[in-house]
């Protein structure tokens, strides 16, 4: 299985390489630059880790949803809702300094979870397609953010820019000096990855999640509630994406700003992260770092080669394409036959 994943990545590298060549850049050189840029220096390495943090949190949550065969395409929106809640608490709660950060994380988790529970309830109660609802909820979240920063939450000291005011210092996470790695979120992500793994392999509810995902009919037969299980996985999945949003707010931006600036598609990339990890929360630690490299490498492409950042999206899309394509290979044996069938 690991081999198939690696082959999928290689295939994506080859096809993306064709595009580099089409831009007149040697693919080998481009990849060298990406790896060097993302891993070769302390700064590059730090950027890689910083990108990996939201991918880790979203990706771990998605493995749980995917285990129950709930297709959560909405981590992006859940992340944004977490960011909105964090900003709301940071700017308007008036809580004492000590409580501010914990309150932001709790509020962010709950907001993301709520955003995830809506499609979960719609699917479990009314049978509405989860792919469509979770995806559409992303757009609602994006426009909610835009409305807030242009409207009611627009900063008073921002001279007309569409930002909220800056968070108070007590609402900011500590960084590893000289980097933008907000380590408390990273530690939280690692702990939750382990916790999710224990949930899936050792805990009763995790057993139920797997049964529902592997065979819904057997789950019904065994008396496992589809409704409760679906709500549970989306509470966790949405909540973890919400935490990622809090981390970006309190660790990086310090204010609510345009949705594309907050996220850059972490919620979507996390789908590939979770899938490449074969829905194993522990493996997400590795795959989120890998995609941290790719995203940090995207900056290199932009700065050193003057190529569009979107090439990274192309690469990400290709990996998912080859990964899902390779699922077939794991279930069937290819045989070639000549002559008549």
């Amino acid at each position: 299985m690991v081999l198939v994943s690696i082959l999928a990545i290689l295939a994506a590298l080859v096809v993306t390489g064709i595009f580099f060549q089409a831009y007149g850049v040697s693919a080998i050189r481009a990849y060298q630059l990406i790896v060097k840029g993302a891993l070769g220096s302390k700064l590059g390495l730090a950027e890689t880790v910083r990108r990996a943090i939201p991918l880790l949190l979203c990706g771990v949550g998605l493995t749980i949803a995917f285990r129950a065969l709930f297709w959560n395409i909405g981590a992006e929106g859940q992340l944004l809702l977490g960011a909105v809640a964090a900003a709301g608490v940071a700017l308007f709660s008036g809580l004492p300094d000590v409580l501010l950060l914990p309150a932001m994380f709790i509020a962010g988790f709950l907001a993301g979870a709520l955003w995830g529970l809506i499609p979960a309830a719609l699917k479990a109660r009314l049978g509405i397609n989860d792919v469509i609802t979770t995806l559409m909820m992303n757009y609602i979240a994006i426009y909610l953010v835009e409305w807030l920063i242009h409207g009611p939450w627009k900063g008073t000291q921002m001279r007309g820019f569409a930002y909220t005011d800056k968070f108070p210092q007590a609402a900011m996470l500590p960084l590893i000096p000289g980097t933008r790695i907000h380590w408390p979120t990273l530690v939280l992500g690692l702990v939750l990855a382990v916790a999710a793994y224990i949930l899936i392999t050792r805990i009763r509810q995790g057993f139920e999640i797997r049964v529902v995902g592997e065979n819904p009919d057997a789950a019904r037969f065994a008396g496992i509630s589809h409704l409760k299980t679906t709500l549970l996985v989306m509470f966790i999945s949405g909540g973890l994406a919400g935490l990622a949003g809090v981390g970006e707010m309190a660790g990086i931006h310090g204010m609510l700003r345009s949705a594309t600036q907050i996220s850059m598609g972490y919620g979507y990339t996390a789908i590939i992260v979770a899938w490449l990890a074969r829905r194993n929360p522990l493996a997400v630690i590795v795959t989120s770092l890998l995609f941290g490299v790719i995203m940090a490498g995207g900056d290199v492409i932009k700065v050193s080669l003057g190529l569009p950042f979107q090439l990274i999206n192309l690469f990400n899309g290709l990996i998912l394409f080859f990964l899902i394509g390779s699922e077939l290979l794991m279930h069937y044996k290819i045989s070639f036959s000549f002559g008549r069938q």
């Binding site: 049964v211 065979n215 009919d217 044996k333």
Partner: protein, 550 residues
């Protein structure tokens, strides 16, 4: 409606058009050999000869060098357990599979059968176990589907109808050509399948387990038809695993076991026990040891139960019965007459729209599956792979699928895998579940072992009521015997058992009382002791037993 018919006509014409092109080079020709009255053959006169047929599937050799000679004008039974390779062999003859080795001779000449269409040009027809009919089309439309009939774009159904009626008359296969197939009973649908083959002028007719869906009366009728066909010069290959049928219908029989040919024999020189020995490879116990009934107290009481099917149609109508401890009540009937819905309502998987269910005096009507299971109701589901197991999870995990929430498998929120493993080891030993380890994925087990696993799980903690739906369906003789013995043992320990089965032999052998369902209603409940097969057959076809209210 008009649009639907237009579409149908369009579809028929298009398919006809396409096949005209394909067929233009191979004009069907009538063999010279079909002469009325001539039924017997000289020894050399074999109509079909299979030579060293080998067919491999990943991990299995389904046919291992099989030689089979079919005489003209005989009914030749292919006998074997599930997985013996009977159907595979016939699919090779019908062109659905290409053999990996071996050759097929028709009237002494080697031929290639590349597709069912090619088989038909050689006058070989097949009636599959699962019918291949389009329910929304009429009988005649189904019969000519894919054939070159009429001229131009339009179908000439009048000629078709005449021909169908003529064949139907000749062989006692009455069915209205203009009826839609979905309106037909299972027995009538089978007749349409046979008509379809005869319309295509099949001389060699392969029937794959044709009796599995029929009532005893329909079976009699089928056998009469088959004899008429043979008298008229056709050759019939009859796939079955039922010894009675071999004895009743065939001239010769070929026994297959694990992909290999065991013997080809004249039926008149054989008896059931020796056939069974050839088929299974060892002695088979025909009579199950059943101890006298020790009726306990009333455990299940069902009063005036109504329920709907998945399609929202009435599936159960006013069903009432009781089951006592230590008793097996069988529900017989052709499947699709409400048995599946009954099992689901009793186990909490389907809502009752009216009526009440009591377990040991306590009402359980429309309680959840979990509540009912916790009250000591075991369920051996009909579709054991779809419902009974989680194919990608391990044997160990599948064995705690019902009890994972309770000690010892659960401590607080944590699962206790040590206990689950010990449980699996014990279950594998007690029920002889053959698996490489308790960590093997359930999907890798054979059908018999999957059923043993389901039984081991469901019978854990000695349930009060066992609802067993088709518990031996598709199992080999060894596994069947074991499952039946397990059920009898539970009965002797005082459990109440509701056994849903289509296999009348099983119903007669196991039950204390027999309930027959037809169209969602109870046709009658009779004591198994002294019950007559004919009487049950009549009830299965919708005749009420004396004393059952209308």
């Amino acid at each position: 409606m008009a649009i639907t018919s237009l579409i149908v006509i369009f579809r028929l014409t298009v398919s006809r058009f396409v096949f005209t092109i394909i067929n233009s080079k191979e004009q069907p020709h009538r063999g010279p050999h079909r002469i009325k009255g001539v039924t017997l053959a000289t020894p050399a006169d074999y109509v079909v000869q299979l030579r060293g047929i080998v067919k491999r599937f990943p991990g299995v050799v389904a046919n291992d060098g099989i030689d089979l000679d079919i005489k003209r004008g005989e009914i030749h039974c292919l006998l074997g357990e599930n997985g013996a390779g009977k159907t595979t062999l016939m699919r090779v003859l019908y062109g659905l599979y290409q053999p990996d080795a071996g050759e097929i001779l028709l009237n002494g000449k080697p031929i290639q059968i590349s597709s069912p269409r090619a088989a038909l040009t050689h006058h070989i027809g097949m009636v599959h176990q699962h019918f291949r009919l389009v329910p929304t089309l009429s009988v005649e439309e189904n019969i000519i589907l894919g054939l070159d009939e009429g001229t131009g774009l339009f179908l000439n159904l009048r000629k078709t109808r005449k021909k169908i009626e003529k064949i139907a008359q000749e062989y006692g296969l009455q069915v209205d050509p203009q009826t839609k197939v979905w309106q037909l009973s299972v027995g009538q649908r089978q007749r349409v399948e046979i008509l379809k083959a005869l319309y295509r002028e099949a001389d060699i007719l392969i029937m794959d387990e044709p009796t599995s869906v029929l009532t005893p009366q329909e079976v009699d009728q089928l056998f009469t038809t088959l004899r008429t066909l043979v008298d008229d010069g056709l050759t019939i290959i009859f796939i079955t695993h039922k010894l009675d049928e071999v004895m009743r219908v065939s001239n010769r029989v070929t026994v297959l076991r694990q992909g290999k040919l065991v013997a080809t024999l004249s039926t008149s020189q054989m008896d059931k026990p020796s056939l069974a020995r050839l088929m299974v490879g060892r002695e088979v116990v025909f009579r199950l040891e059943k101890s006298p009934l020790k009726r306990g107290e009333k455990l299940l009481e069902v009063n005036g139960l109504h329920a709907l099917s998945d399609r929202g149609l009435p599936a159960l109508r006013d069903v009432s019965f009781d089951i006592y401890g230590g008793e097996i009540l069988s529900v017989a009937g052709v499947s699709g007459n409400g048995q599946a819905e009954l099992a689901e309502v009793l186990t909490g998987l389907r809502r009752a729209t009216r009526g009440r269910v009591f377990l040991g005096g306590e009402e359980i009507t429309n309680h959840s599956a979990r509540e009912i299971a916790d009250l000591g109701v075991a369920h051996v589901p009909a579709e054991r792979i779809r419902m009974g197991i989680v194919p990608n999870m391990s044997v160990r995990e599948n064995l705690i699928l019902k009890d994972y929430r309770h000690p010892p498998f659960s401590r607080g929120v944590f699962l206790n895998y040590k206990k689950a493993e010990a449980n699996a080891q014990r279950a594998m030993a007690d029920y002889q579940i053959a698996a490489p380890s308790d960590n093997t994925a359930a999907k890798l087990l054979s059908g018999g072992n999957i059923q043993r696993m389901v039984l081991a799980r469901e019978l854990l903690g000695n349930p009060r009521l066992i609802v067993a739906a088709h518990p031996t369906y598709g199992l080999d003789v060894g596994a069947t015997e074991q499952v039946r013995q397990v059920l009898l043992k539970q009965r002797d320990q005082g459990a109440a058992i509701l056994l849903i089965s289509e296999d009348l032999e099983e119903v007669m052998a196991l039950s204390d009382r027999i309930l027959v369902m037809f169209s969602g209603e109870v046709m009658g409940i009779v004591d198994a002791e002294g019950a007559k097969i004919d009487e049950i057959g009549l009830m299965m076809a919708g005749t009420r037993h004396e004393g059952v209210k209308q």
